[in-house]
């Protein structure tokens, strides 16, 4: 799959996720190396009003979505891949006022399961806000919503 096709597919996928639209998330980069999404900072995602730090839930949403969408980079055809589990280690708080980037790769793809890992950062990818590993289940294309969702992605109809 070409990078431009992948990028367009990722944008259509993300635009179908209601909560991600609420957070104004967008695709920064999608290619064979992985997926990068942006979560713009907004006052609504603050968890600690004393410090202005972003809530872990918003970061988890960013990273669950980024890791899940990283599966698009490694699968020949779209498959529904729900999250089996996700583990987040918080390195330091996300600063108020700065966009947050989520980057993830798939480091192992098996018949049934895809292993992903990623980080979230603001200015410097070398100083991540959090490190994430997530495991996703491959449900294939023959499940409820799968074919329709996949075809819609191809045709741009979602």
């Amino acid at each position: 799959m070409s990078d431009s096709t992948l990028m367009a597919m990722a944008e259509r996928f993300l635009s179908a996720l209601k909560h991600c639209q609420l957070l104004n998330m967008r695709v920064a980069q999608a290619d064979g190396d992985g997926m990068t999404l942006v979560l713009p900072w907004s006052p609504a995602i603050v968890g600690n009003p004393q410090t202005g730090a972003v809530h872990g839930g918003a970061l988890t949403t960013l990273m669950d979505t980024t890791c899940g969408m990283a599966t698009l980079c490694v699968l020949p055809r779209f498959e529904v891949c729900p999250t089996l589990d996700l583990r987040i280690d918080y390195m330091h708080p996300a600063e108020a006022g700065k966009d947050i980037y989520g980057n993830a790769q798939c480091y192992r793809v098996t018949r049934d399961v895809i292993f992903t890992r990623g980080t979230a950062y603001q200015d410097d990818p070398g100083q991540p806000i959090c490190q994430v590993v997530g495991t996703f289940m491959r449900l294939g294309q023959d499940i409820k919503g799968g074919i329709r969702f996949g075809n819609n992605l191809k045709e741009g109809g979602v």
Partner: protein, 160 residues
């Protein structure tokens, strides 16, 4: 440190079992719409069905990140009330297992404090929808807390 005014608000909220003024201080709580009620000595957290929390539009199902955020926030609120930490508990790590799709309906969560050390706590969180015996997700988290009394500073990290 938790300002005195907020500590008083916390105590007042817990005394009458109305946590809305407390939740109103946290923007993310309002974003996802978390609610909290007292059940005897325990707290029950509720995430009312909200179209803005949908991830997969075809099932439709609640976004996994929202379920995780709801559970992490539940754990933090639980600790605010039960851990007597002198500061707002800070999340260290969070791990979630998704057991079933979270359908477009109300979701509930309950917390269990497995271990309270002087600086770190371990909390387990269970989330369910219709049937408490069929959870949609289980999670566990570590939070950093501050002891009420300052630890003795001997130059060595205090032993747990």
């Amino acid at each position: 440190m938790i300002p005195q005014a907020i500590r008083q608000q916390l105590n007042a909220a817990h005394a009458v079992g109305d946590y809305r003024p407390l939740l109103a201080l946290i923007p993310y709580a309002g974003l996802i719409g978390i609610e909290c009620e007292r059940q005897g000595d325990d707290l029950l957290f509720r995430l009312p069905a909200n179209p803005d929390n949908i991830g997969n539009p075809l099932l439709p199902a609640i976004h996994g990140g929202v379920i995780a955020g709801f559970m992490e926030l539940s754990a933090a609120l639980y600790l605010l009330i039960y851990s007597e930490s002198a500061s707002i508990p800070k999340v260290i790590d969070f791990s979630i297992d998704y057991l079933r799709a979270g359908h477009f309906r109300d979701t509930y969560a309950q917390c269990q404090l497995w271990r309270q050390g002087r600086r770190v706590t371990n909390v387990a969180i269970t989330a369910w929808q219709g049937d408490r015996q069929a959870p949609i997700a289980t999670a566990r988290a570590h939070f950093k807390i501050e002891p009420e009394k300052p630890l003795k500073s001997s130059g060595q990290p205090p032993s747990e």
